[in-house]
Amino acid sequence: MAAPLSFQKMILTLHDYWSDRGCVILQPYDMRMGAGTFHPATTLRALGPEPWNAAFVQPSRRPTDGRYGENPNRLQHYYQYQVILKPSPPDLQELYLGSLAAIGIDFTQHDIRFVEDDWESPTLGAWGLGWEVWCDGMEVTQFTYFQQMGGFDCKPVAGELTYGLERLAMYIQDKDSVYDLAFNDAGVTYGDVFLENERQMSKWNFEVADTDGLFDLFRKAAAECENALANDVPIAAYEQAIEASHVFNLLNARGVISVAERQAYIGRVRDLAKASCAKFIETQTPVWQAKYPGWVA
């Protein structure tokens, strides 16, 4: 058996695989966000009738998951590999399994299962049906058929695959700690790249970040989102919704948002995201209807 893929080789393999299947290979979005689903290439492109096939890595930040580098499985910053295929192709499951085979998973020796797991993101006004994909009992991918985004029906439905790259790599390389992963084939580990980052960022997320400044940032992002909406630039507005969402996550990690306030903040972010989606649909509908007569949101 060939040596298992390094972390970066695994990403490159997935890039090649999905590139060969007609996907646009994007680079990570240059903003802080909690999940690849927030990427405009997923959220906004899931709206409207036009086909869209893309794959990209998105660094995901979950401030409350930080463990100062001391937990071998939990990180406040990690990578998600996202594939979005719209409309969802009829052989999506087979395409997905092909990608697992490409990164070295042998289906004669490993147990792959599609276990019910419906996805819902209140902050995006989005939901879908699908599975968490298990490999020998480990969840390695979230597999979702988007049904709604920003409160709008997906017409057509997009299929979304979200691979947890670190988990998959730990699995393929048979490592017990994420920090022991071979990042490349030249002796650099994941820990060499990210351990100090985890220590410092955990400390900043939980202890240092200036909360007054963060509250201020939240207000400013929300206001800027409204400003962009008023001026019919929903993509810019959506960026501010992403920003507000992440700032909220930071405030949450700092423990300065009470249970009662929590719902109000989530509601605010959802309103911003939904308004951005609505405006995006509104501004794009003439373009879409020119190509797809009779299409309505």
Partner: protein, 812 residues
Amino acid sequence: MTDFLLELRSEEIPARMQAKAREDLSKLFVGELAKAGIAAPRITTYATPRRLVLIAHDLPERTEAVREEVKGPRASAPPQALEGFLRKTGLTREALTERDGVLFAVTEVPGRETAQVLATAIPAIVRAFPWPKSMRWGAASLSPESPRWVRPLQGIVALFGSDVVPCEVAGVTSGAVTLGHRFHHAGPITIGSAADYVEKLRACHVIVDQDERAAIIAVGAKMAAQGAGLRLVEDEGLLAENAGLTEWPVPLIGRFDEAFLAVPPEVIQLTARVNQKYFVCRDGAGQLANAFVCTANIDAADGGERIVAGNAKVLAARLSDAKFFYETDLKTRLEDQLPKLDKIVFHEKLGTVANKVERVAKLARWLVESGVVGAEILPGTGRGTAGAAGGGGGAPAAVPPADTPLHHPADGPPPRTGEDMSLADMAERAARLAKADLVTGMVGEFPELQGLMGGYYAAAQGEPFEVAEAVRDHYKPVGQGDDVPTAPVTVAVALADKLDTITQFFRVDLQPTGSKDPFALRRAALGIVSLVRTNHLRLSIVTSSFIAALEGLGTGWPARDAQAGTLRETIAQFEPIAALKALAALAPSLPKPGTPNPENFEKAVRAAASVRDFMLERLEFAERSGGARVDFIRAAVIIDGANAREDDLVRLLARVHALQAFVTTEDGANLLAGYKRAANILKKEAPGSSKHIPETGEEDPLAMVEDPDFAPVVAELARTNREARDYDRELAEAALVAALDAAEPRAEAAIDAEDFAGAMAALASLRAPIDAFFTDVTVNDADSHKRTARLALLARVRDAVHRVADFSKIEG
């Protein structure tokens, strides 16, 4: 006669939906056949993660011709009637048939090929399928009307005999080709007919029959455990779930690090079960072993070695998380978690969980101090909970039964017993700690472990055993079949918690309505019924919910934080009110002795009365489920005439049982007949007069009267009554009076002693005199004095019976 095979193949169907889907498929299919006039055939259904299958046996080749006749108006009827009939039937006048001057619409449906019926039935079934959640997919979903299925539908096999039933739905065309196991058999399989379907798929590594898969897992898992010298912890739910996740199940046993056994066994079991769908095992001594059984969906080339290693790794990661939470939680004392409860809203109208804890603590203490819960409520029980009758089978409980000692070797010194604490102190202490685990890391991760973890943490921080046990078990009984607590401290907290929940929600008008019971108040009420019954708790529902409501209203008792003695006295003030049954009658002019806030007092009374009615309704429900006759309960609930209700559930049930035993005897049946005759006459002759008026002259009528202004009125009334009695009683009449004079005090004494069988026996002595009275005496005498006196005598009979139960509610 021909068999029909339908396979609807899709991407993975959630395991939990498969059983219901088989039922629905069968139901819809029978419905479609019925529309075509084909009687329901014998049907077999199967489900795997990737297919839903129906085989209908022995269908006819053709359907029968159906002739249907609808009667219309007469030929001579006005044109409007004819027009209406034509509109209804969609026919023209010419198409109608006339017979004996009446018009008929005759439709003749000729016999059809069954294959044709099936070809239209399949798309109809797919479109109408009631999945709990369904989705759109693919290019077709550009249109919002695109087909829906639980997950994308991939293929349809429809064979009538060996012929394909051609149809198309959801973009899928029917055929004879399906797929085998996703990894064991990649290529397509052509099915010949219903007869070879199951075996062809088996050859391609798909066991179609879900029950067979479950059996394979059950046997395989047991053998795997035995092979390792262990015993499998069986779990029906897990069996069905794993059968729903596999087409070719292969149970495999694996091990985890023994160090994780320091975590409470329930946590390990829950992690394994809920997150990973693994079975767990016990060792020879019955202790949880460091082993798990997972169910793979393939026969792995290496015998499953890699699969087991992978699964073990995942479990280890989860258990180390759990261990982390457990160890972290143990560093904080439960009382130090309490401030966090201030931030959790219990309900917007009812404050925070901290508020609830405060109320429950006081109520638990009151339950002990007022004597409802005593030290020896069920003498001789060593264990904390009583096994539920008929329990043991059924669905596995979300929270494992409390069959493990609370103390765990890793927890430190063994907990002390509460010898140095009073029962009331322990009840209050346990109530204060009972909800603290809601804010621990472990319960945050596994909400199902609420209570249980609190019990572990309480024991670990050195709380008395009784307190830790109460913290653990105070949610019990959670449902029917769950263990019912019997340990006094636990009973006090469990009862207080439920009583508080019910009373507070009723107080703010959030009682269950119809099928909606969002706060599970019905379950809580049944919990109270079980607690009361199992422990023979003598509890006035009205009084206790009144106390609970007052506490919720924030007024509390006049001396909220007074010493126990003062508190008892305060409560005692309210006892006469319950005794007066004024609460029960909900009279608007309630006495308000010494209450600080009359308005709150009245609110509390209203809440208490509605809680009582709710509890009685729940008791009736529970009894009915147990096969009891509802009319006996309704009869026994009503005491002392029309308004008063029995609100002591133990006493109520004693009445019910005595009544049930009595009425089925000959004496009982006859007394019942006599009672009904008396009651009927009274209803007819003297409607509305059911007042107690002294009749025999032996009582001093003025003794009943406390109001001096009213005394002359009563005296006058007594005088006329005496005159009315001044005639020669007939023999049977005098005998009945004598029998009543003898029976009444006996019945009364028996009732006071709660010997309801004795009270009934005393009443039974009235049977012969009543019969004789009805035979020999005319009630409706021309002499109005006699008539009045005889009616009064019948009223006395009725009222004597009513002291035990309202016999008029008994049917038959």
